[in-house]
Symmetry: C3
Subunit: 337 residues, 3 copies
């Protein structure tokens, strides 16, 4: 798998500065790349690494061209060009067929071009479309539907009725379609409310390792097209996530939350039930969202890290904050007199 | 599966307003229900949906009866009645037998009415009681005991010696009985302390998807009857959770914490080791509990979400809070003079 | 499995006070121990339990010797001595061979002393060294290497190319080597960046249940020797964790974070991307770290738990904190005049 720099530039709509015949076999970081590897630079702290790189070529934008004498592939979005070239040079190996150690229900419909790995279990009335890969030890329960070219890594669980679109990737340990946490209280005891909806996941989605997405109570839980979910996220019943929203690790989203399109939600954020979030909202790490957000923009909560001894003094004062505010007001009133 | 409204009313101890012969086949939300479906209303923002619903009948309480002209099933606790009716109309399919692709140790004792799914592994000296369902790809290690009618969804792991009561449900990806995080420090290096207790789970418990419950170090980790645990919860060694307590997703509970009965702990809460929490305590989302709570009531910690630019100004001021309090005190003292 | 107190004292370099011929069969807590069991005391609240224990002997240090009339094993580090004795009295059962229900690729190299459990899947070109135990239902993908005497509990996933050192323990549900969360943005849509590094885990490491460690984007994700990771931790791509650092449950560590040696990170901490943390840093529970820490020491963030009604008043005041500080400054200026 090798290409000239010129071929790669043509693929991503960039221009070459330097030797366009330079042969590129793979990608690497600036620090570790050799003469047959291409790297990228998007600015910031890697300037020295750029100056010293042994890479055959570097992807960058016009304004950084003067920072290197290396062969360059000049584009407006270097990270995007890098993503496309890295994918071209590292194609996913295609495979098909059903491993003899898989357990496949006779009523399942599996396209001949799909792959089912060892020890995977495919339930009744499942539909698996063309080009799907199901790695070992997955469980796909009855009536699930998996769209073209979607990929389940090892040890994924799809509970009954889950629908997955096309070109979607589910990472190991993810559980999709568990019952929502719905209960009625009967004099202190909790009575389970049957969870009768499903999980409906769109096209071009990623669901990270050990992420959980619960089925809807009555209606469905819906993950839009192009949504990217990192690891260890919890998505409760009847959540709806808009297209092209990205959510980082360890986020918890409670029941019936609706999140707009093109949002980014950083790691460890919590969102309480019923909250509605507009399009293009960006929430910083470990914030807690308890009320709906109707305007696009960036939002945050939390307090800064400090040395423990200093923090303890401020920490205690937080419990006096209302008192402090009232005393300040009193002084202002007195001084006005 | 269909019943008249009268039959359903009789089951849940309610009364019918309207056509008691109306035939109900299933449940649905107010917005999506048709004439053979029953829905429910508990007040709040769904009032328009109630007015417009096409449902065959609606479960509600007396005070909301005037908000609809629909057939009604009037009860004191509509959500509870809905839960019971939804369960009646959606019975869990019973199954029994051992799938030929399961691996069952010859010393395991499995009731003839139990079900063991494909690719599941049942270890030595395991006891599986009547009516238990173990879905595909579970691992039940040696000496585990699973009580009558409990249900393990696909891909559950029970490490050795775990005890599960009756009518308990464990969701996919849950791991019960991993070693506690117990170590002694030897001049900077960590030496593992063998974890010799087990996990003992009561009756009518739910354990959510990808939740982890560690075995005890010497004595056991104990989850009481009727406890409901959502997804992605971490419960450390020797924790004890009282009966009928409900814990939402992403909560982390450190070693030897004791939680009382009838508590509710909202999503993302952290509880540090050794903390003891009384009965009927309610903790709001993402609070951190570092000291024991001896009185029932509601408790919280944390700071509000704000637009990022405003938040940053307040965020920085938090580090000055002790200084602010002292300066305020000084002014008060001066002004008194 | 029984030993005299004298033998145990000799093993751990301690001295006996009392009957050195006392026979010990196992360990137990002070409250539950009987005459053939040894317990330990490290001070603090268990003093009454120490006075009342029925244990055959107690491990403690000199200064607590006067608190009991029991047989004692006196050492400088009682918890460490207890860990060593508990391990001696509870040896891990050794086993070897490949279970007939495992799926092993013919190109995998598996030492004759290793064990592969039922339903586990071992991929192409995997190397499994002497004494390794792989419990049921694990997936070890192509080109993984697992060092001597390492132990995979049931349902572990090692994605392709993962390297595990010697004497390392991975708990159930852990996923090692999933793709990092790396994407380029193309006019609002996210384009996946192939993740081409691996995860490289050292010797004597523990990885807790349902913990996830992502593979590097270009270079590798590296977990040093002696690192101890609790359950439900998320470690993103290209993180590097120094030797002998211990991290508690539910911690989230974003991309390219570098953590030093001998650190402790308490439960629920979040660390944002690119942060660098020095050696011997200790971070308290649920803190958020957004900037590098260059000095060893203890660090914290967060606000205290309060009764909900009191908390709400202070919570609101947090949004006025910058205003409070400015008004205070104004008063100070006025008063100086």
């Amino acid at each position: 798998m090798s290409h000239t720099l010129e071929e790669l530039a043509s693929d991503v709509g960039g221009r070459v500065e330097g030797d366009a015949t330079c042969v590129i076999e793979n990608v690497a970081s600036l620090a570790s790349a050799g003469p047959r590897q291409i790297s990228f630079y998007t600015g910031g702290k890697h300037k020295t690494a750029l100056a010293n790189t042994q890479a055959g070529a570097v992807i960058l934008c016009d304004k950084h061209l003067s920072a290197t004498t290396n062969n360059c592939l000049v584009v407006s979005n270097p990270l995007l060009a890098f993503a496309l070239i890295a994918a071209k040079l590292n194609p996913v190996e295609s495979k098909s067929g059903i491993h003899p150690d898989a357990s496949v229900d006779e009523t399942a419909s599996i396209d001949a071009s799909a792959y089912i790995g060892a020890q995977s279990v495919i339930g009744a009335d499942v539909e698996i479309k063309a080009g799907v890969v199901i790695e070992p030890s997955c469980v796909v329960e009855q009536k699930c539907v998996i769209g073209e070219n979607s990929f389940l890594h090892a040890n994924v669980t799809l509970n009954h009725g889950t629908r997955i679109g096309k070109n979607t990737i589910i990472y190991s340990g993810a559980v999709i379609g568990g019952d929502g946490f719905g209960m009625a209280n009967n004099e202190g005891r909790w009575i389970k409310i049957p969870q009768l909806g499903i999980v409906d996941i769109g096209d071009d989605v990623e669901v990270g390792a050990n992420t959980t997405i619960d089925r809807g109570a009555l209606d469905d839980t819906v993950i839009g097209n192009g949504v990217k979910l990192d690891n260890q996220i919890q998505i409760a019943h009847n959540v709806r996530i808009g297209d092209h929203t990205a959510i980082a690790g360890c986020v918890g989203i409670a029941g019936s939350v609706v999140i707009g399109r093109y949002c980014t939600i950083a790691g460890g954020v919590g969102i309480t039930d019923q909250v509605q979030i507009a399009d293009n909202v960006h929430i910083t790490a470990t914030s807690l969202v308890t009320q709906s957000i109707t305007e696009s923009g960036a939002y945050s909560s939390g307090t800064p890290l400090q040395e423990n001894a200093k923090w303890q003094r401020n920490y205690v004062r937080f419990t006096q904050l209302d008192d402090i505010a009232k005393r300040l007001k009193r002084i202002e009133t007195e001084l006005k007199k």
